[in-house]
C-alpha cells in the first residue's frame, strides 16, 4: 500500500504551459532493493543503472519533449524531424529500462509455467531451446542493444529478436515486449567485464516469470 502511494505521488508532476497540462516522465522506483539481485547483478551496478543511466534517459526525454512541443507549436517541421533520434534514444531508454526492472526479481529463476510455457514449447520446441536461442542472439549483439522475447500480434506467435541501442521493441518492430536482456556494457561491466556470456547465462537465475507471464496474458487477452 505504502509503495503504491509513493509511486502515485512520484508519478504525477503537472506542468502548466500555455494552459495545456502535460505530465513529465519520472523515474519509476525499483520493485526491490539495489542489493536484492545479488549475486547475479551487483548492488553497485543496479544503483548506477537505475539512478544514473535510467534517470538520465528520463530527464533527457522530458527536455526533448519540451523542445518537441515548442517545434510543433511553432510549426517548425524541420525542428520536429531533427528531434526524432533524441526521442528514440531517450524515450526508448525509458521504456526499455522500465520493463527491465520488472522483468527481474530476487525470487526469479526456475521455469515458466502454464500458458506461457505451452506457447514457448509450441513456438521454440522447448524451454531450453528458447533460452539458448535468446541467449545466443543477445550475446552476439554488436555494440549496445537488447535481446527480446516478444509477441507477434499478427501471427499470434512468440518471437526472439534484438534491437540496437535503445530502439524500443514495439515502436520499431511492432512486437509486444515480454522479456528483455540489456547488454549495454553498463548493465554488466563492473561485475562481468568483457565476459558478456557469463552475465547472459546468469540472468536466467533472476528472470521474473510471473511478470513475463502477466505481459503475455495481457497481450493475448486483448
Amino acid at each position: 500500500m505504502l509503495s503504491a502511494v509513493r509511486r502515485l505521488s512520484n508519478s504525477v508532476t503537472v506542468v502548466a504551459k500555455s494552459g495545456i497540462l502535460r505530465q513529465k516522465h519520472t523515474l519509476p522506483a525499483l520493485p526491490y532493493g539495489y542489493n536484492d539481485l545479488e549475486p547475479t547483478i551487483s548492488g553497485d551496478i543496479m544503483q548506477l543503472h537505475h539512478q544514473k543511466h535510467h534517470a538520465t534517459y528520463v530527464n533527457n526525454l522530458n527536455k526533448v519533449e519540451e523542445q518537441l512541443k515548442d517545434c510543433v507549436d511553432s510549426g517548425n517541421v524541420s525542428g520536429v524531424i531533427g528531434l526524432q533520434s533524441a526521442i528514440k534514444f531517450n524515450g526508448g531508454g525509458h521504456i526499455n529500462h522500465s520493463i527491465f526492472w520488472e522483468n527481474l526479481s530476487p525470487n526469479g529463476g526456475g521455469e515458466p509455467e502454464g500458458a506461457l510455457k505451452s506457447a514457448i514449447e509450441k513456438d521454440f520446441g522447448s524451454v531450453d531451446a528458447f533460452r539458448t536461442t535468446l541467449s545466443t542472439n543477445t550475446i552476439a549483439i554488436q555494440g549496445s542493444g537488447w535481446g527480446w522475447l516478444g509477441y507477434n500480434k499478427e501471427t499470434g506467435r512468440l518471437q526472439i529478436t534484438t534491437c540496437a541501442n535503445q530502439d524500443p521493441l514495439q515502436g520499431t518492430t511492432g512486437l509486444v515486449p515480454l522479456f528483455g536482456i540489456d547488454v549495454w556494457e553498463h548493465a554488466y561491466y563492473l561485475q562481468y567485464k568483457n565476459v558478456r556470456p557469463d552475465y547472459v547465462k546468469a540472468i536466467w537465475d533472476i528472470v521474473n516469470w510471473k511478470d513475463v507471464t502477466d505481459r503475455y496474458q495481457q497481450v493475448i487477452g486483448n
Binding site: 548506477l48 544514473k52 538520465t56 554488436q142 555494440g143 540496437a164 553498463h186 561491466y189 568483457n194
Partner: protein, 265 residues
C-alpha cells in the same frame, strides 16, 4: 672469424662506426604498432601496446588498459583470424581474401555476405583498437606548428577543433568512436563511427581517435563519460598523430602488386 689488422686507435673508431651503423639500422627498422595492418598475414597477432598498462595512469587506469587489450582487443583479433581463415579456405583462388586486413576493410563491400559482418566487426575492431593505442602515449609533446596550422585551416582554430571533438565524443549515442580524419585533399575533419565501423572503409586516413564504447571507461568513470574524455585529452599524443599521418602518406599503407599472403608451398 673477424680478423682485425688495424691499429688499436682505428679499432676503437671502427667499433664506434659499427655501433652507429647498427643503431641506425635498428632505428629505421622500428615498427609502429599499426605497421601490421598493411601487411598480409595468415593470422594476425595481438600487438603489444607501445607502453606498459601502468604508464597512462592517472588518465587511463591500468585495469581498463589490461582488460581492454587482453579481453576485448584479443577477442576481435581471434575472431577476425577465424573469419579470414574460413573465407580463405572456402575461396582458395580469391586473391582479395589474402590481402592485408587494411586492404580488405578498404573494400569491405567485396567481402562475400557470409563473412562480411564478421570481418567488418572483428577486423574493424582489430584495426580501430590499434589506432586507438597508437595515438595515446605517456608523454605527449606540444602539437607541432605544421599540424596546428592544418587543424586551423580546417576548423578555424585549434580551440574550435577541440571543442567540436569533445562535444561529439560526449554526445555520441551507443557504441562507437570519434575520429579526426584526413582525406585525399588533405582536409581534416571529425567523423563518428558506430560499433566497429572504420573510416578506412570510407577511403579516409584516420589520424586521431577516441574509443567511446563503455568498456573504454566504465571501470574508472562509470556513467561520467565527460570525465573520461577530459582525461583522454591528457594522453592524446600529437607526435604519434603526425607519425600516423606520415604512415598514410607513405607507401607503407598502400598495397603492393602481388602483395598477398600465400601459404608456404
Amino acid at each position: 672469424k673477424f680478423v682485425c689488422n688495424i691499429g688499436s686507435g682505428n679499432r676503437k673508431m671502427a667499433t664506434y662506426i659499427l655501433l652507429l651503423l647498427f643503431a641506425g639500422a635498428f632505428s629505421t627498422c622500428e615498427m609502429a604498432i599499426y605497421d601490421v595492418i598493411a601487411e598480409p598475414a595468415e593470422a594476425y597477432e595481438l600487438p603489444d601496446l607501445p607502453y606498459q598498462y601502468t604508464e597512462l595512469e592517472p588518465n587511463i587506469d591500468e585495469q581498463t588498459l589490461e582488460v581492454h587489450h587482453q579481453g576485448h582487443h584479443r577477442s576481435y583479433t581471434d575472431k577476425m583470424n577465424s573469419a579470414l581463415a574460413e573465407w580463405r579456405e572456402e575461396e582458395p583462388s580469391n586473391d582479395f581474401a589474402r590481402s592485408s586486413i587494411l586492404e580488405i576493410l578498404r573494400n569491405v563491400e567485396q567481402i562475400p555476405d557470409r563473412w562480411q559482418t564478421a570481418i567488418k566487426n572483428n577486423g574493424g575492431g582489430y584495426v580501430n583498437h590499434i589506432l586507438y593505442w597508437a595515438t595515446m602515449c605517456p608523454a605527449p609533446e606540444a602539437i607541432s606548428s605544421n599540424l596546428k596550422s592544418a587543424i586551423e585551416r580546417s576548423f578555424g582554430s585549434f580551440e574550435n577543433f577541440k571543442e567540436q571533438f569533445t562535444s561529439t565524443a560526449k554526445s555520441l549515442f551507443g557504441s562507437g568512436y570519434v575520429w579526426l580524419c584526413e582525406d585525399d585533399n588533405s582536409r581534416l575533419f571529425i567523423l563518428t563511427s558506430a560499433n566497429q565501423d572504420s573510416p578506412v572503409s570510407k577511403g579516409l586516413y584516420p589520424i586521431l581517435v577516441i574509443d567511446i564504447w563503455e568498456h573504454a571507461y566504465y571501470l574508472k568513470h562509470q556513467y561520467r563519460r565527460p570525465d573520461y574524455v577530459t582525461s583522454w585529452w591528457n594522453v592524446a599524443c600529437w607526435q604519434e598523430v603526425e607519425k600516423l599521418q606520415e604512415f598514410w602518406h607513405s607507401d607503407g599503407s598502400k598495397v603492393q602488386p602481388q602483395q598477398i599472403w600465400r601459404p608456404h608451398m
